[in-house]
Amino acid sequence: MANVKNKTRQPGRIAIDGELTIYTALELKEKLLAGLAEAEALELDLSEVGEIDAAGLQLLVMIKQQATETGKALSFTGHSPVVVELLDLSGLAGFFGDPLLIVRKPT
């Protein structure tokens, strides 16, 4: 189950811990939107994401679009290997535009 914690209570930073999947999407949507609403700039720490699926990816797109809409700065950091893998597969890395390493497997 994903835990969302506001590290060190400082607004504008949310770490997603565990799953970023259909199982946690509902709960995460609320938390992410709330987090975005209360800060001018939000940093999403993805380093502890152990699992991500299409629903999770969709959620990231949603929050990114919401940030753009409301004119806030949103960045994703510390992409865990599973996140990188999915971003690579989906070809959405460019959309998010965060510093990220993509390792393309030899085909």
Binding site: I22, K29, A54, V61, M62, L86, S90, G91, L92, F95
Partner: protein, 737 residues
């Protein structure tokens, strides 16, 4: 369409998931609601359904779907998971297990299984009755989505062929794809097994603004250009299960421009945007796109979106910045590490490895011997190093086969639950020592005897609740499973806090059946162990669980076949404990080699306690006991036992061996030291010889027999009891069997 090895992985995974599901269900059945556990059950069902869908296993999908829908309502709090529902799910779990079993065997479910599944689905759906109406409506919505625009745009126009060698796939997933247990990316991954995905664009245009977005609905789509030699059917088959839920268009390489045009029309996104995507995919060149769009504008009535808008949209996209090289490397490394932490290995390969290590040990011993004979100090030293390494290799090879016993123990949670229901008794299972490791083959073979013992304890051991209360015990019975290592063997205990064994009853029954002579004086332990004799049952009433008089002797035989032993402790009115003692491994042991006459014998080193010179005691011929520091120690000359000819050696030695609580001395001529022993089984001819457990080949090529200490002790005791039932006083120490 899907390779066999995937199917195998699927079966293995399903079995694991089902195990988790069962565990979770058993907890839920006992305790009150824990959302975490309900989630775990849901997830297991969800994953099984998802992957079964990928393989087109419709019966599994259909069944799991029903279970999952109910679980989903439990999860959302609309239904409460009570013991009744949990019991239904346990039945559902069993059915699912059977279905997966059929998948594994490649067989089809029988008629009864099929009907059973139907009944279960009906029972599950009874919980759903209100939300039923939702489903058909939903599917109607999907079938509308891929609505085909009339074919009037076709054929009439310059049907240029688009010059790509790649397949083009357009996928738009329906909103319920997640809820139906599928992850769009799993199809992409599956697709990758048929060829290579040249370019994939995830279409996110359908994701609504945050406020309207339902995070559990799927809004995604893919445009994929795909390089593959597979035929259309094979590609199409991948999407078998999602078909009803999804808009799928597959264009083969070198399709006509008009087909692309139609595709663009059918897709929900704006034409310009789509065009961009298609170009990005590498499916169309910009010129081809221009052509198609021009064609399109002649007929299409949608206002075209200015390209500028698209570009503005693209502005959101900031170029990725590459992180420092160090960070890169670390990430790559971490990735690899987590992937390699666990691998599945065919058990046969392990067996082969153990066999080879066995041969290596024998060959090593040969080299050792030659080195010593040649008297070359350097060679001796190097062979010593070599044998130390071989020993390490042996240990790690054997460790590969070691598994924890907890999986076996956990299975009994279910057994105890079912049996206690059947018997109408309330029984708790307490498991300890689950992390004790033992050889995989042993684990596999111990399951059946253990089941029998557990059932027996529950049926005969633990009393009915009223009787328990009358005896001042809590109404709830307790059954304990425990495991631990002891002197080179593993001990598994099954204990209950029931009525214990009734000595008189056992004894009179044994006399009645002619197992014991009337008036024979037996120790408590001897009486208890009578229940392991063939054709013995003290149950007054025969239940369908146990008490038919077969069983305990079979249990004993099974355990002996594993070179183990079983015995029983009991306190009347307070319960009994059955102790199974098994060797840690069946293949290679550390042995202690001794010589008798010209022959060599190997005694398992774990059982050797000490060695003493026999002449330190005054040994009268035919003596049976020694006084070892105040302890009575029965002993036996191996020379006599195995009928070795020739007179006794001048300095005989006693090897004191221990097995369980028993100690005994074995008199031998020579002590030859430690020896790594690869156990080879003896032929059928020697099966009745209990005191020899096998043989091994020495470095010199000679054969040494391995002494089966428990067997030998049993045999001595048996002969003694048969020959001199009355003449020997029974003391509380020493061996009693």
């Amino acid at each position: 369409m899907i390779p066999d090895e995937y199917l195998q992985t699927f079966v293995v995974e399903c079995k694991e998931l089902l195990e988790h599901m069962e565990e979770a269900l058993l907890i839920v059945e006992q305790a009150e609601q824990d959302p975490e556990i309900i989630n775990a059950i849901f997830r297991a069902a969800h994953t099984i359904k998802g992957s079964a869908g990928m393989f087109g296993l419709d019966p599994v999908v259909e069944f799991t779907h029903a279970a999952e829908s109910v679980l989903d309502r439990v999860r959302s709090g609309e239904l409460t998971m009570n013991a009744l529902l949990a019991a239904l799910f346990i039945e559902a779990h069993d059915h699912l297990k059977e279905l997966i079993g059929h998948v594994a065997e490649g067989s089809h479910p029988t008629e009864t299984t099929h009907n059973q599944g139907k009944t279960l689905i009906d029972r599950l759906e009874a919980y759903l009755s209100e939300s039923q109406a939702e489903l058909p409506e939903d599917s109607a919505k999907h079938s509308e989505m891929p609505a085909l625009h009339a074919a009037n745009v076709e054929r009439e126009h310059s049907d240029a062929i688009v010059g790509t060698d790649l397949w083009h796939l357009s996928l738009r997933f329906g909103p319920d794809v997640f809820r139906n247990g599928m992850d769009p990316f799993s199809f992409v991954r599956c697709l990758a097994s048929l060829g290579s995905i040249e370019e994939l664009v995830t279409v996110i245009d359908a994701i609504p603004p945050a406020a309207q977005m339902d995070p559990e609905s799927c809004y995604l789509g893919f445009e994929i250009s795909f390089n593959s030699a597979a035929d259309k059917l094979a590609i199409d088959n991948i999407f078998n299960f999602v078909r009803s839920d999804c808009f799928i268009r597959i264009l083969p390489p070198r399709s006509k421009a008009s087909e692309y045009q139609r595709l663009i029309q059918e897709l929900p996104e704006q034409e310009m945007r789509l065009g961009e995507i298609l170009v990005k995919c590498g499916t169309l060149t910009p010129e081809e796109l221009d052509n198609i769009l021009r064609l399109q504008s002649q007929y299409g009535d949608d206002p075209q979106r200015p390209i500028g808008e698209v570009l503005v949209e693209q502005q959101l996209v900031s170029p990725p910045v590459v992180e420092a090289a160090l960070a890169k490397q670390k990430q790559v490394k971490d990735n690899k590490k987590s992937e390699a932490s666990l691998i599945r290995v065919d058990a046969e390969k392990l067996d082969e490895l153990i066999n080879l290590v066995g041969e290596l040990i024998i060959a090593g011993a040969g080299t050792n011997l030659i080195a010593r004979r040649a008297g070359m100090a350097e060679l001796i030293e190097s062979t010593a190093t070599l044998s130390r390494l071989v020993e390490d290799v042996r240990d790690s090879a054997l460790a590969l086969r070691m598994v924890q016993i907890c999986a076996t123990f956990n299975r009994f949670t279910r057994v105890v639950r079912d049996v206690s229901k059947e018997l109408g008794k309330d029984i708790d299972l307490v498991i300890s020592g689950g992390d004790t490791e033992l050889d995989k083959t042993v684990v596999e073979k111990i399951g059946d005897p253990l089941t029998h013992l557990v059932r027996n304890s529950m049926d005969h051991g633990i009393e009915a609740a009223e009787l328990r209360l009358a005896r001042g015990k809590p109404a709830k019975g307790t059954l304990k499973l425990n495991a631990y290592h002891d002197a080179g063997s593993i001990v598994i205990e099954v204990s209950d806090d029931g009525g214990g064994l009734n000595k008189e009853k056992i004894l009179s029954k044994a006399v009645e059946r002619g197992l014991v002579a009337e008036g024979a004086a037996l120790s408590d332990k001897e009486i208890y162990n009578l229940i392991f004799e063939a054709g013995f049952s003290t149950a007054d009433t025969v239940s369908n669980l146990s008490g038919r008089g077969v069983g305990m002797d079979v249990v004993k035989r099974n355990i002996q076949a594993l070179r183990g032993s079983v015995d029983l402790d009991s306190v009347e009115g307070r319960g009994s404990t059955i102790r199974i003692r098994l060797p840690l491994t069946l293949a290679i042991i550390d042995g202690f080699m001794v010589g008798v006459g010209n022959a060599a014998y190997v005694i398992p080193l774990d059982m050797v306690v000490e060695c003493v010179e026999l002449s330190a005691w005054d040994s009268g011929e035919g003596g049976q006991y020694l006084n070892l520091r105040g302890e009575v120690l029965p002993y036996r000359r191996l020379r006599e036992h195995f009928g070795v000819t020739g007179g006794p050696a001048r300095h005989e030695n006693i090897v004191v061996v221990r097995y369980g609580e028993h100690k005994a001395g074995l008199v031998v001529d020579k002590l030859m030291g430690e020896f790594q022993t690869v156990i080879k089984p003896l032929g059928k001819l020697f099966r009745s010889e209990k005191s020899i457990g096998g043989f091994t080949i020495l470095g010199s090529g000679e054969v040494a027999l391995i002494v089966d200490v428990p067997g030998l002790m049993g045999q001595i005791e048996y002969e003694r009891a048969a020959g001199e039932i009355v003449s020997f006083p029974r003391s509380g120490v020493g061996m009693q069997w």
